[in-house]
C-alpha cells in the first residue's frame, strides 16, 4: 500500500520533531513494484516488492549529515535522525549549504494511475500469454519484461515546506528472435496508465522487425545518411536533457563550455527546428511538481529553435553567479518547430541511407563533444531510392550528439512519441521524435544479433 498524503505528512512531522539541528529536510517514499519476465516463449521470473524509505539530511552550524532507513518504527526514526546529526557534527562546514525552502506552492500534475500501481497479476499473466502466443504463431522466440510501479513521496523542510505526490509507470519490452538466432526485433513502450499501454503493438512490432531482419547483408562501416526511429533517438538522447548543468559549463568541463571561460549560452548549437524543453504538466509525459530539491517546477526551454536558451543553475550555483535557480528540468521533450514528418515519408525522401531501430550499450567517449559509442541492435535496414531494400548486419558507431543535432545535419524531424531508453528498461520516459540526418558515423561491423 502506498502512503497517503496523511501518512506521509505524519512521518515527516514525526521526523522533524526529532530534529535538533538548525536545518533539515526529510522525505519518505513508498513503493509498490511488480514485474514479470519471459524468455524462450515461457515465463521466467516474476515478483513483487513493497518498500518504504526515509531520508534525513540535517545541517548543524552549516555542517551536513545524511542518513536513511527503511524501518519506520519510532525507535528507528529517532536513531536515523540522531545518526544524521552525528554525521553532521563530524563534518566540516558545507560550503554549498543553502537554507531549506520555506513553504512553496505547487501546481499538481497528473502522473498516477491506481490501476498501474495495483496491477492485477492474473490479467498481466494473460497479457504476457497473448504476447507469447503471438510469437509462437509467427514462429519466433519471444523474450520480454513487463513492470508496473506505483510511487508516493512526501518531503518536508524544517523551514515549513511540504510536498506530497504520486506517480506510476508501466512498461513492456519484447524481443523476438528467429529460432536460428540470425534475426531479432525489439519494441518497447511505457506509460503512467496501464490502460494506455498498447501491449499488442509492442508484440507485433517486435515480431515484424524480427521477420523483416532476416538474411541481413554486410555493409562497410562509414558515414551514412540515417533515419533514427524514436526508440533509437531515446537510446541515444534520453538522458541528454539532464546534462545542461551550468556549473560544469562555467567550470570549463562541458560540451557547452566555450573558450575563454565562457559558455555557449545564446548560441545556435542545433538545427533551428529543434526545441528541447521540460513541461511538468504535459498530459502524455507528466513530470514531478518539484525540481532541484523542492522548487516548484515550471515549463522551461533548454534549447529553443536550436539556440541554447538555458543552462541549469542549482540553488547554490545560482546564488554564486547572481542568477535565479532553474525550476527544472523534470522531464525530457524534444519537438520540431515545423510540422512533423512521418518515418514513411522520411524513407520516401531518402536516396541512400540506413533506417535504425535501436541502439545498445551506449557509453560516453569524449565529453567535449558528447561523443558516444554504441551499437545498432534489433533492426537496421538499407534504404535506396525511397524504399527499404534489405536488412543490414549491425554496426558499432562513434557519434557526437552535438554534431548529430547540429545545423546542417538534421534533415527531417518526426512526431514526438512517448518512449524510454532500452538500456533504461523503459523507466526513463521521454517524448522524442524520429530524426532524419545527413551523417551518422559507423566505425566497425558488429556481427551480433
Amino acid at each position: 500500500m502506498l502512503f497517503t498524503e496523511k501518512d506521509a505528512r505524519a512521518i515527516c512531522d514525526k521526523l522533524l520533531s526529532y530534529v535538533k539541528a538548525n536545518d533539515a529536510t526529510v522525505a519518505v517514499t513508498s513503493e509498490n513494484y511488480s514485474h514479470l519476465r519471459f524468455a524462450s516463449n515461457a515465463f521466467t521470473t516474476s515478483g513483487a516488492r513493497e518498500n518504504v524509505n526515509v531520508f534525513i539530511t540535517v545541517w548543524i552550524d552549516k555542517k551536513r549529515g545524511a542518513a536513511s532507513t527503511n524501518e519506520i518504527n519510532d525507535e528507528s526514526l529517532k536513531a536515523t535522525v540522531a545518526l544524521a546529526e552525528q554525521l553532521a557534527r563530524l563534518s566540516p562546514v558545507d560550503r554549498e549549504y543553502m537554507p531549506t525552502l520555506a513553504k512553496q506552492t505547487y501546481k499538481p500534475t497528473n502522473a498516477f494511475a491506481e490501476a498501474t500501481s495495483n496491477i492485477s497479476v492474473t490479467s498481466r499473466a494473460k497479457t504476457i500469454n497473448d504476447v507469447i502466443t503471438s510469437c509462437e504463431k509467427a514462429k519466433v522466440v519471444g523474450a520480454g519484461f513487463h513492470q508496473a510501479r506505483g510511487f508516493a513521496t512526501g518531503s518536508a523542510t524544517r523551514n515549513g515546506n511540504f510536498l506530497y505526490e504520486r506517480s506510476s509507470l508501466v512498461s513492456l519490452a519484447t524481443t523476438a528472435r528467429t529460432p536460428d538466432g540470425t534475426s531479432s526485433g525489439y519494441f518497447l513502450r511505457n506509460h503512467f496508465d496501464v490502460a494506455k499501454l498498447d501491449t499488442s503493438r509492442v508484440a507485433s512490432e517486435a515480431i515484424r522487425k524480427a521477420l523483416d531482419s532476416r538474411n541481413p547483408r554486410v555493409l562497410e562501416p562509414g558515414v551514412y545518411p540515417a533515419i533514427l526511429e524514436p526508440q533509437a533517438v531515446a537510446d541515444l538522447l534520453v538522458s541528454f536533457a539532464f546534462g545542461f548543468d551550468a556549473r560544469n559549463a562555467e567550470e570549463g568541463r562541458s560540451a557547452f563550455s566555450a573558450p575563454g571561460g565562457k559558455t555557449k549560452l545564446g548560441e545556435k548549437i542545433f538545427d533551428e527546428r529543434i526545441n528541447i524543453y521540460s513541461d511538468p504538466w504535459h498530459p502524455e509525459l507528466p513530470g514531478s511538481q518539484s525540481a532541484q530539491g523542492g522548487l516548484p517546477a515550471q515549463k522551461i526551454y533548454l534549447v529553443r529553435n536550436g539556440v541554447l536558451e538555458n543552462l541549469v543553475y542549482s540553488r547554490f550555483w545560482a546564488k554564486q553567479k547572481g542568477k535565479e535557480p532553474t525550476p527544472g528540468p523534470v522531464n525530457n521533450i524534444m519537438e520540431s518547430s515545423q510540422p512533423a514528418v512521418s518515418v514513411e515519408d522520411m524513407i520516401k525522401s531518402m536516396d541512400r541511407g540506413l533506417l535504425l531501430g535501436r541502439f545498445w550499450y551506449i557509453r560516453g567517449v569524449d565529453p567535449r563533444t558528447v561523443l558516444q559509442t554504441g551499437l545498432t541492435r534489433d533492426g537496421i535496414w538499407y534504404i535506396e531510392n525511397g524504399k527499404i531494400q534489405y536488412p543490414v548486419q549491425n554496426f558499432r558507431f562513434n557519434q557526437s550528439v552535438i554534431e548529430l543535432l547540429a545545423p546542417g545535419n538534421v534533415e527531417m524531424i518526426g512526431k514526438s512519441e512517448r518512449v524510454g531508453s532500452s538500456e533504461g528498461q523503459g523507466g526513463n520516459a521521454a517524448l522524442l521524435p524520429a530524426l532524419k540526418v545527413k551523417k551518422f558515423h559507423f566505425t566497425s561491423q558488429s556481427e551480433a544479433v
Binding site: A48, N51, N53, P92, A143, I362, V365, T373, Q425
Partner: protein, 527 residues
C-alpha cells in the same frame, strides 16, 4: 542459529589494529545498538519456519526466504570541501517459490510473522497466476543441506572507523591531487557496504553471511580555459572485498598526486594516429575487458537466451563447450567465488550452493559455464556452480557473475619484458569508456593513461585512444603474460544485469598482458 552482528565483531570482525566496540563513542554504540535491535529483534529461524511451512501448504516444490540487512556508507568530497556524508540501511525479506515449475517472488520491508505469511502467499499467487500459461517447467538440481555461517575476510570493519578520519583522508588525497599546477578540480569518494544475509530453504539449509566491501575512488580534471579543452584521470585502484585496511594499505595519496600530474600531461599529450598497434595492458585496465568479453559471454543464462530482451545472448553457444578456441594457448580463465578479497567472494550463493572455483577457459579453449540450480537442470548438469545472487532482500535472485580472472604466466615476466617485445605499441593504464555488443563479439575500450611504445621502450604520452576488436580475435592475439608479481585484482561495485536491473559486485584479476595487432581509433577525430 542466528549469529548477531555483535557476535561477528567479537569473534573475528575486528581483528588486529581495529577499534573495539568498547572504545567507540557512546553515541555510536547507541546507534549500532538501535540498528541491531530491528535486525535481531526478529527470530529469523522462526520467520523462516512461517514462510517455508506456508509455502509447502500451498503446494510449492521449492521455497526459500532471504532476510537481509544492507548497510551503506558514503562520503563524497571535491577539492577542500565535503559534499556528502551519509549512511543508509535497508532491511527486509523476500520469499521465492517454485510452483508448478513457475517462479513467484514477493518481498517486504515489514519483517513480521504476519507479513512473512502474507507475502509468501502473494509469491505463490503470482506463481500460480503465471503457471496457468507456463510452457516450460523450471526445475532445480539438488544441493546438500547446510546449516552454517560465514564472514568475508576483512581486517578492519569500515563501519567502525570514525567519519572524521575518512573525511581527513579524502581531503588529504584531494590536496595531493591539486599539487600539480594546472589541476582544476578533484572529486573523491569512499563507499562501504555491509551485507548481513540470512537464507533458509525447503532443502533444510540455514545460512548466515556477513560481507564487507570497500569502494574508494577519485577523479582529477585539468581544464585549459583558453582553448576550452579538458582532460581527466580517474583512480586506478578499484573496489575490493576488503575492509578499511584497503584504504590504509594502498598508497592513494601518491596515486592522487600522479593522477594530477597525468591529467595535466594529457592536455598536451600527442594525439594517437589511428591504425594497428600491439597493446600492453595493465591490470588496472584489463580487468574491464575481461569482465565484458569473458565474464558475460560465459554466463549460461545468456547462452540459453534467458537475457535476450536486455543484456543479450552470447556468441558462445552450448555446442561450443570444449571446442571453441576462445584465446591463445597461454590464456586460462578461472571463475572463483572463493578468491581472497574478491568482490563476488561468498561462502554460499543465494540458493544454498557452496562457493567454488572452476575453469571457464583452459589452455585457450572454452570449457565451462557459470551456472545456477535452474540453469544446471536445463542443461542436464548434476550440480550448480553457485552463481545465484539477488542484490537486495527485495530482488529475486538470478544468475550473476562470479570473480573471473586471467591466470598469470608461469615465469617471472615483467611489464618491461613485455614492452621490450613491441616495436609499435601502446601501454594502457586504467579503465575508461567501454562498450560491447549484445552477444559479446565487438568491443571498444578507452582507458585513463596511454603511453606510446616504440622499439621496445615506453615513449611519450598519447591521448584520445580507444581500441576496437572482436572477442576471440583479441584473446587469440594474446602472446605474452606477466608473472605472478604483475597480478592485480580490479573490479566493479555495480555490474548491472537483469530486469528489473540488479547490481552485482565482481572482481577480475590478471597479470600485465600483451596483444598483437589491435585496431586503434582516435576518438577526437571524426570525418
Amino acid at each position: 542459529m542466528t549469529t548477531s552482528r555483535r557476535d561477528f565483531l567479537k569473534t573475528a570482525g575486528v581483528a588486529a589494529g581495529a577499534i573495539s566496540l568498547s572504545t567507540l563513542p557512546d553515541w555510536f554504540s547507541s546507534i549500532v545498538a538501535a540498528e541491531e535491535a530491528a535486525a535481531n529483534g526478529v527470530d529469523k529461524n522462526a520467520l523462516a519456519d512461517v514462510a517455508l511451512s506456508t509455502a509447502r501448504k500451498l503446494g510449492v516444490t521449492y521455497a526459500d526466504i532471504r532476510i537481509n540487512r544492507y548497510r551503506n556508507e558514503s562520503i563524497a568530497t571535491r577539492e577542500q570541501q565535503v559534499q556528502n556524508v551519509s549512511r543508509n540501511q535497508s532491511f527486509g525479506f523476500g520469499v521465492r517459490v517454485l510452483y508448478k515449475g513457475t517462479w513467484g517472488f514477493a518481498s517486504s520491508r515489514s519483517v513480521t510473522p504476519e507479513d512473512v505469511r502474507r507475502f509468501t502467499q502473494q509469491a505463490v499467487e503470482i506463481a500460480r497466476a503465471n503457471s496457468v500459461y507456463q510452457r516450460k517447467r523450471i526445475s532445480l538440481v539438488p544441493v546438500e543441506k547446510v546449516v552454517t555461517s560465514w564472514k568475508s575476510a576483512f581486517e578492519k570493519d569500515p563501519f567502525e572507523v570514525s567519519i572524521d578520519d575518512k573525511i581527513q583522508f579524502l581531503l588529504s588525497l584531494n590536496e595531493a591531487a591539486m599539487k600539480t599546477a594546472g589541476v582544476s578540480f578533484v572529486n573523491s569518494f569512499m563507499g562501504f557496504v555491509n551485507e548481513q544475509k540470512f537464507y533458509a530453504s525447503t532443502d533444510g539449509s540455514r545460512i548466515e553471511q556477513y560481507i564487507i566491501r570497500a569502494n574508494p575512488s577519485f577523479n582529477v580534471t585539468a581544464v585549459n580555459r583558453t582553448t576550452g579543452d579538458f582532460q581527466s584521470r580517474s583512480a586506478l585502484g578499484g573496489p575490493q572485498g576488503m575492509g578499511y585496511e584497503y584504504i590504509e594499505k594502498h598508497d592513494w595519496k601518491r596515486e592522487a598526486q600522479q593522477a594530477g600530474e597525468e591529467a595535466v600531461m594529457k592536455l598536451k599529450a600527442k594525439p594517437v594516429e589511428p591504425g594497428k598497434y600491439d597493446l600492453v595492458l595493465h591490470p588496472s585496465h584489463l580487468w574491464l575487458t575481461i569482465h565484458e568479453s569473458v565474464g558475460h559471454p560465459t554466463e549460461l543464462d545468456r547462452a540459453l537466451w534467458m537475457e535476450a530482451n536486455y543484456a543479450g545472448t552470447s556468441f558462445i553457444t552450448p555446442d561450443k563447450t570444449g571446442k571453441l578456441q576462445f584465446g591463445s594457448k597461454i590464456v586460462n580463465f578461472v571463475a572463483d567465488r572463493t578468491q581472497p578479497t574478491g568482490l563476488a567472494t561468498v561462502g554460499y550463493d543465494d540458493e544454498g550452493v557452496p562457493a567454488q572455483s572452476w575453469h571457464l577457459i583452459k589452455d585457450g579453449v572454452f570449457v565451462d559455464w557459470q551456472t545456477t540450480r535452474d540453469l544446471a537442470a536445463m542443461t542436464g548438469k548434476k550440480k550448480s556452480y553457485g552463481c545465484n545472487h539477488g542484490d537486495s532482500w527485495g530482488s529475486i535472485s538470478f544468475p550473476r557473475m562470479p570473480n573471473v580472472s586471467l591466470q598469470s604466466g608461469s615465469g617471472n615476466t615483467s611489464m618491461d619484458d613485455l614492452i621490450a617485445g613491441v616495436e609499435k605499441g601502446i601501454l594502457i593504464y586504467g579503465d575508461g569508456s567501454y562498450s560491447i555488443d549484445q552477444q559479446r563479439y565487438n568491443f571498444q575500450f578507452g582507458g585513463q593513461v596511454f603511453w606510446e611504445i616504440k622499439n621496445g621502450k615506453r615513449g611519450d604520452m598519447l591521448r584520445d585512444v580507444a581500441y576496437q576488436s572482436r572477442t576471440t580475435d583479441f584473446w587469440n592475439s594474446c602472446d605474452g603474460l606477466g608473472g605472478r608479481t604483475t597480478y592485480e585484482l580490479g573490479g566493479s561495485f555495480n555490474d548491472g544485469k537483469g530486469e528489473p536491473g540488479q547490481s552485482n559486485a565482481v572482481s577480475h584479476g590478471c597479470p600485465v598482458a600483451r596483444f598483437r595487432g589491435v585496431n586503434i581509433l582516435n576518438t577526437a577525430r571524426r570525418s
